[in-house]
């Protein structure tokens, strides 16, 4: 089996070398294996395999794909957040003490933590969120290419699976999430770790490119009649900008990882120290992707905040056009600042100055957005729901992170704190409120739409306080430590004055972990109480855009009749004009895409391909490659890819739902969080 030996299985290593660090590794592997066994047993016990296969895995419905993306991201979040806590624990005890983790294990932890949080937590989360919401906001029945959408999901899932497999079989890279050569070259990292990184990232980057193509095409070509670009909800605008960034920014990453692979597997000299290789090209390529990536992640969250703040303030968003222009400006500027990630790597003062100024410029459109959100709240009827709390905490926290970003944008300052914990604090300060809070807010906001019942606010708020206080406790000390000279990715310290700060940070990390646990508790509690929390009428928050105009959960074709749009805030307009919940004059047959086995086959093939490449099992490489492309070619011979839902069935379902809605009592906003809220909002004239 290639270079794979029994000694590569993590349990064997734990058995042969029983020290704490190996125990932790073995325990992590055991949790994974036990988790898989538990899920298998539960599925068998509840006879869920058939439903899993036909309703989910082979589905090409954008809503189900969106939910599956978010499930992947939750699973990966669970792992990466535990890794974060473990690293904070190690650092908090490792002052003049080796702590519990070996340097190699610690290196794997910060590499997987970073790679997972960016590529397998944040990316699937935003992609899932866009997938679920964007087509419905546009008044569309699906994305433009439903099967391609499923393939993207499976490529991302395959990458995530590879990272998970590395927990049990072999080791992961110790080169950080950026994997800079020459350290990650074959000379200094001869093991399988970097290969795991390369192939998991390559798979997901290809998936994301295809997602970008799919979303951009959907937004340009699949809008309901009357839904002009400047009538789109802001979430659609930010999705569009994110898609454009994906189309342009993923290629540099794909190329960089493939070049690194050629260096490692075939002895090429792209990034080697000798024979004409140049690692600076890697740094440029990686950050040519890496900086736009920040905005790929953050823009959809900006979209969520725009929707949440406007809905829970009961007001049209303030400065719609300025928000659109700001989003576009950020998308363009994001390609002009990549060099600030390596100011210290010898470009010279003038080049650094230009990129420093460009970096500060991004603060301008972002500032415009912050003011727009604040002004949206002014004189609104604000309801402090969980989603809204996360949005407000985002505003406060993100501004602090932005300010430290402007500090870092000064090349001389950057020279002083480069690669220190100040930087670590800064980017967590951007990404946790900017992406994670946004995604949690979106999850709280759209959950009732997706599953038909509201989440328990009490647990949501408990989670909110843990996330917020935990964030400040964890990362504010890191600013101080960075200024005191503490470098990132350090496994052991020799300065006793760090101790207190590190201990505070560890307590904060525990709070962050509790925040995650409370989110899980919230989900369990809400599922149990689902019958008191149902919102069948589909509009629990007095929503403003079209996704709230259908049932909760929506029918697979989203809209029985494609809506006509006459302006911004399309659904609010319909409600105010009394045109919501009106029976349409006619119904038509609706064609929906059939389920397809192609995407799961490609996903399994991709896992096989990645695993075989990591372990140099060449026959399996060939087999997986043939499976993947064989599935694509075979699919192209399938003529019937759609099935038709007859108009009579659409009519029956829709009319039944409308009758149900008309019987529902309307809910005033004050009673949003009570069982009287069945999803029909009170409309104020």
């Amino acid at each position: 089996m290639g270079t794979l030996t029994p000694q590569d299985i993590s349990f064997v290593q734990t058995f042969e070398n029983p020290v704490m660090s190996e125990f932790i590794d073995g325990a992590a592997g055991s949790v994974l294996v036990l988790g898989i066994i538990t899920v298998t047993v539960l599925l068998t016990y509840y006879r869920g395999w058939k439903a899993l296969w036909f309703d989910w895995l082979t589905s090409v419905d954008h809503k189900k794909i969106g939910i599956m993306y978010i499930v992947v991201s939750f699973v990966m979040l669970a792992r990466a957040i535990i890794e974060g806590v473990l690293m904070r624990y190690q650092q908090s005890i490792a002052v003049n003490d080796p702590g519990v983790l070996t340097p190699d294990h610690f290196g794997q932890l910060f590499s997987t933590h970073g790679s997972i949080m960016i590529f397998f937590m944040a990316m699937p989360f935003i992609t899932g969120m866009i997938n679920y919401v964007m087509p419905q906001q546009l008044g569309a029945r699906d994305v433009s290419f439903p099967l391609l959408n499923a393939i993207s999901l499976w490529l991302t899932a395959a990458g995530a699976a590879l990272v998970m497999i590395s927990l049990v079989v072999g080791k992961f890279s110790t080169g950080g999430w950026t994997a800079y050569p020459p350290y990650t070259g074959i000379e200094f990292s001869p093991g399988e770790g970097v290969d795991y990184w390369i192939w998991s990232i390559s798979l997901t980057s290809i998936g994301s490119t295809l997602t970008g193509v799919n979303f951009a095409t959907t937004i340009y070509k699949n809008r309901a009649p009357g839904m002009t670009l400047f009538r789109m909800p802001l979430f659609c605008w930010t999705s569009l900008c994110t898609s454009v960034l994906m189309i342009f920014a993923m290629a540099p990453l794909t190329i960089a990882t493939l070049m690194l692979a050629l260096d490692r597997y075939a002895g090429f000299h792209f990034f080697t120290n000798d024979l004409g290789g140049n690692m600076m090209n890697y740094a440029n390529l990686f950050w040519l992707f890496g900086h736009p990536e920040v905005y790929i992640l953050i823009l959809p969250a900006f979209g969520v905040f725009s929707e949440v703040i406007s809905t829970f303030s009961g007001k049209t968003i303030y400065g719609y056009k300025s928000l659109v222009v700001a989003t576009m400006s950020i998308a363009v500027l994001s390609f002009t600042v990549w060099l600030h990630h390596f100011f210290t790597m010898g470009q010279g003062a003038n080049v650094n100055a230009i990129f420093g100024i460009a970096t500060m410029l991004i603060g301008v459109p972002t500032g415009v957005k912050v003011y727009d959100w604040l002004l949206t709240m002014v004189r609104g009827r604000i309801r402090l729901t969980t989603a809204m709390l996360f949005s407000i905490m985002f505003l406060v926290t993100f501004v602090i992170g932005g300010l430290t970003g402007v500090i870092l944008a000064n090349p001389p300052v950057d020279f002083a704190v480069h690669n220190s914990l100040f930087l670590v604090a800064h980017f967590h300060n951007m990404v946790i409120p900017g992406v994670l809070f946004g995604m949690i807010a979106g999850y709280q906001f759209w959950f009732p739409k997706a599953f038909g019942f509201r989440l328990a606010e009490r647990w949501g708020k408990a989670s909110f306080w843990c996330w917020s206080i935990g964030f400040y406790l964890t990362f504010m000390p890191l600013y101080a430590l960075g200024l005191m000279g503490a470098m990132r990715r350090t496994v052991e310290w020799f300065r006793p004055e760090y101790l207190g700060w590190l201990q505070v940070a560890f307590v904060g990390a525990l709070l962050l972990f509790s925040g995650f646990i409370f989110l899980c508790v919230q989900l369990v509690v809400s599922v149990r109480q689902r019958d008191q929390r149902r919102v069948p009428a589909g509009d629990p928050w007095d929503g403003r855009s079209l996704e709230w105009s259908n049932s909760a959960p929506p029918p697979e074709y989203n809209f029985a009749v494609i809506p006509e749009v006459s302006g911004q805030d399309a659904f609010t307009r319909l409600k105010e004009q009394g045109k919501a919940y009106v029976s349409p004059a006619t119904y038509e047959d609706i064609a929906v895409p059939k389920n397809s086995i192609v995407a799961p086959v490609i996903g399994v093939g991709a896992i096989g391909l990645g695993f075989a490449l990591v372990w140099h099992i060449w026959w399996l490489v060939a087999v997986s490659f043939v499976i993947i492309w064989g599935a694509v070619i075979a699919r192209s011979f399938v003529a019937e890819t759609e099935r038709v839902i007859p108009a009579s069935k659409v009519r029956a379902d829709h009319e039944a739902w409308l009758a149900q809605v008309r019987e529902c009592a309307t809910t005033p906003r004050e009673q949003e969080d009570t069982s009287t809220n069945v999803g029909r909002a009170e409309v104020l004239a």
């Binding site: 290419f145 070509k221 009649p225 000299h269 792209f270 080697t272 004409g276 011979f637």
Partner: protein, 209 residues
């Protein structure tokens, strides 16, 4: 608000077949967007080559030592010729009711494309015989990466063409097959443009400088 109907040039779905045209619009548009992403990939390979072709020779062979300009010129002609024949195939798809013209032009395109790949492989083989292997220097790594990525694209195009010829026989001239032919045409012409850039910046500049 009335949306303007876009009738795609080269696509013969029948002038009254508005539904198929509406269906095909996102497909063709989406493929353009995909090509754009693909071009970004080539742009990065060009940038890498630009940064390594002179700086990364590491005392090994230089472009003047290893490039066979006449051979690259013949390859250029083959590929440009294949674009013309694919253009004729597209016209046959639109204006000829019979399948024969279309198939013949496609077969001719295939032969020219296969000739291009054959000559490219021969060039690589000769270079490698002279010791100009990708492991020799950064310049050669970047060269093989750029040119072979283009070559792999052309090879994928050839396979695609075979599959479509089979589909023309099995499925007939359905809307789906026509749209695939249109997309293959776009792909093929894009590869032509990329090759023109390779010929200019890699081969001509390499030998001239």
């Amino acid at each position: 608000m009335k949306r303007q109907t876009v009738l795609h040039p080269g696509l013969n779905l029948g002038s009254a077949d508005e539904y198929s045209h509406a269906q095909s619009e996102p497909v063709i548009f989406g493929f353009w967007v995909f090509l754009m992403a693909d071009l970004v990939l080539f742009a990065i390979l060009f940038a890498t080559y630009a940064s390594m072709s002179v700086q990364g020779q590491a005392g090994g062979p230089s472009p003047t030592d290893v490039f066979d300009l006449p051979s690259a010129f013949i390859e250029t002609m083959l590929l440009l010729g294949s674009s013309i024949t694919f253009g004729m195939a597209s016209l046959a798809l639109k204006y000829k009711a019979d399948r024969l013209h279309l198939v013949l032009w496609l077969l001719l395109t295939f032969c020219l494309g296969a000739g291009f790949i054959g000559m490219e492989v021969r060039d690589f083989w000769i270079m490698m015989q002279q010791g100009a292997v990708p492991q020799r220097s950064g310049f050669l790594s970047a060269f093989y990466m750029l040119v072979a990525t283009h070559g792999l694209h052309v090879t994928a195009g050839l396979l695609w063409m075979i599959i479509l010829l089979v589909q023309l026989r099995v499925l007939g001239r359905t809307t789906a097959v026509k749209l695939r032919l249109m997309r293959l045409a776009l792909f093929w012409h894009m590869l032509d443009i990329v090759w023109v850039c390779i010929f200019t910046f890699v081969y001509l500049f390499g030998v001239a400088l």
